[in-house]
Amino acid sequence: MALEKITRISGRGVFVPGADIDTDRIIPARFMKCVTFDGLGEYAFHDVRFDPETGEKTEHPLNDERFEDASILIAGVNFGCGSSREHAPQSLSKYGFKAVIAQSFAEIFFGNSTTLGMPCVTLEAEQIDRLRQVIDEDPAVEVTIDLEALEVRSSAGDSFPCRIPDSARDALVSGRWDPIQELLDNAPRTAEVAESLPYV
């Protein structure tokens, strides 16, 4: 299975404020009643984008027309905490996001996103704050995540070193973010391990 090598992603950004944004917030459980992931995009952040009482659009940044074309999500600490539901990164990806920049990520969310080919990189708080300001002043600013140079740049002239675990970076840039083929290829060695485990 040849996969695309993901080395650089550019697009407009949108900042979603708040710490510990959990997966229930990203995709409320009631939208998980589905046997495929198709169609999850429209429910991303549903309960904070629409007023639960009136159903009207809230002031959530994803409702802000200025950020309509954003494809890079920018967030705070511990983004994606909570459940293991892959519905969360799937809904973001189907919504149109290609990457997430945050101060830190919850582990399962991070892994799920990488496996979808949606890079998650971290920056320091001040750098995130600076990006927030730049895109707020001009939503057309282009944000670039360069996984080879390990940098986040903005067309406003910023350039910050970003972080991502080596294994995830390597998997993305070499087009191995979905490991299934490699896992399948190692079947003989897998059989040996299975053989060595009395409970299997």
Partner: protein, 474 residues
């Protein structure tokens, strides 16, 4: 230097290094449920793959299944999902504990009950509370749906090795303080992201004394502290619990037990971090906000943003209090509740219902409070009925339901309405978690839920009920 259980289990299950540097880990036991598996089976079909070790995957339904008329979900989408897991298990030859088997229930209750959960094994499940199985000395963690596909297709997955933090709790827990309080206290101290990158090893006198069910309550909430897995080293209680269970190798049980115990951390094992907590300092703990680390001792006050250490903390407290509609700096005790929920994979086992029933006997749920008790599995339901606990709950004014996740995540009809406040024995108090986008959750132990149910407000169970002694006394 000795090895920790984590290290030993990892070594025994490592298949090899992948090109990206991660380890290919063999997953001895795979558990699935109706919500995160249908897409994975779909991917398998798309790729033309089969389930590699069908005898090592076990399925049940819990997330969406109704707790009343279990086999007739009114919601057609729920019916579709239940149908999908039945058909998938049938087609791919996977063991499935359906409603008619009498063994259906929350996947994290069913695994241990059936003896599928065993020490020294790796367990994965498309559910973040999989760490529950760590109570048996298994390395158990939640995975996403694409990884469910990987495990189905290869019985392995790509994994990054975690660091290990040992959390020791020594001394005596005061009366009225339960396993749930211990884990809520740990999360409040170390934070909701304190455990990122770590496996938690729970050790010390308090965990040694705990029953297997109490250990499960603690391990269950590891993920709420950011740790993908958490475990307690196996001991004689682990062995006794598993003895004679259906999926245990009972022919040569002694050899099996010996092998299990050999996985326990060595006395001179190395850890990346050690945290020590004095049991005597732990109080009944409740949450006031929208993250499981928003916890306070019941005698404390709700934090005041004015006293926050940083701007970020101030904003977090303000956001949480605005959502919870609670005033800063006031006690949580006395806040009126609308719903009391007893159940979930954290606290939906026999001992949880026994303990709550002990105090509910002869009392009534306060007027206006809707109280529901939802056993974690069909087997738990039968055990409770045999002891007459269902009657105790019903006489007190609780509704006694069928087994499932129910109001823990409200994918079935059990939901909060509007901004109702729920005293809940579950594990997450996120915004909207219990089915209403503005519903409010206060996490606590089952006995604290009972106290809230009978008084109609958040209460200190020690003031409502009489406690003879420490509940986790040896």
């Amino acid at each position: 230097m000795g090895k920790s259980l984590y290290q030993k289990v990892w070594d025994a299950h490592a298949v090899g290094k992948l090109a990206d540097g991660r380890t290919q880990l063999f997953i001895g036991t795979h558990l699935i449920h109706e919500v995160t598996s249908p897409q994975a089976f779909g991917m398998l079909r798309d790729l033309g793959l089969k389930v590699k070790f069908p005898q090592r995957t076990f399925a049940t339904i819990d997330h969406i299944v109704p707790t009343v008329n279990q086999d007739q979900p009114a919601d057609p989408l729920a019916a579709d999902m239940i149908k999908a897991i039945r058909e998938n298990c049938d087609e791919f030859g996977v063991t499935y504990f359906d409603l008619a088997s009498g063994k259906q229930g929350i996947v994290h209750v069913v695994g241990p009950e059936q003896g599928i959960t065993q020490p020294g094994t790796t367990i994965a499940c498309g559910d973040s509370h999989t760490a529950t199985h760590g109570a048996f000395g298994a390395i158990a963690f939640g995975i996403g749906t694409t990884q469910v596909r990987d495990v189905l297709a290869t019985q392995t997955m790509a994994m990054e090795k975690l660091k290990v933090r040992r959390i020791e709790v020594n001394g005596e827990l005061p009366p009225g303080v339960y396993a749930k309080d211990v884990i809520l206290d740990i999360i409040r101290r170390l934070g909701a992201k304190g455990g990122i990158g770590y496996a938690y090893e729970y050790a010390g006198e308090v965990f040694d004394r705990m029953s297997m069910e109490e250990r499960m309550t603690v391990c269950n909430m590891s993920i709420e502290g950011g740790a993908r897995c958490g475990y307690v080293n196996p001991d004689h209680k682990t062995v006794e619990y598993l003895n004679g269970r259906p999926y245990v190798d009972n022919d040569d049980f002694e050899a099996t037990a010996e092998r299990w115990l050999s996985f326990a951390s060595d006395a001179d094992a190395e850890y990346d971090d050690i945290v020590r907590i004095a049991a005597a300092e732990i109080e009944p703990t409740v949450t006031w906000g929208i993250s499981p680390d928003h916890g306070i001792a019941i005698s404390d006050r709700i934090p005041d943003p004015a006293g926050a250490a940083s701007e970020a903390e101030k904003a977090t407290i303000e956001e949480a209090l605005a959502y919870m509609k609670l005033p800063p700096g006031t006690p949580l005790k006395g806040v009126k509740i609308d719903v009391a929920f007893l159940g979930s994979c954290t606290n939906g086992r026999l001992s949880d219902f026994r303990e709550a029933a002990k105090f509910l006997k002869g009392r009534k749920v306060a007027p206006g409070v809707k109280a529901i008790a939802v056993p974690g599995s069909q087997i738990v339901a039968v055990q409770c009925q045999q002891e007459g606990l269902d009657k105790v709950f019903e006489e007190a004014g609780f509704e006694w339901r069928g087994a499932g996740c129910s109001m823990c995540l409200a994918m079935n009809p059990d939901k909060l309405v509007g901004d109702q406040i729920c005293a809940s024995s579950s594990n997450r108090n996120f915004k909207g978690r219990q089915g209403s986008p503005i519903g409010r959750t206060i996490l606590m132990s089952p006995v604290m839920v009972a106290a809230a149910a009978v008084t109609g407000a958040v209460a200190d169970a020690r003031e409502v009920f009489e406690f003879p002694g420490s509940p986790v006394a040896a």
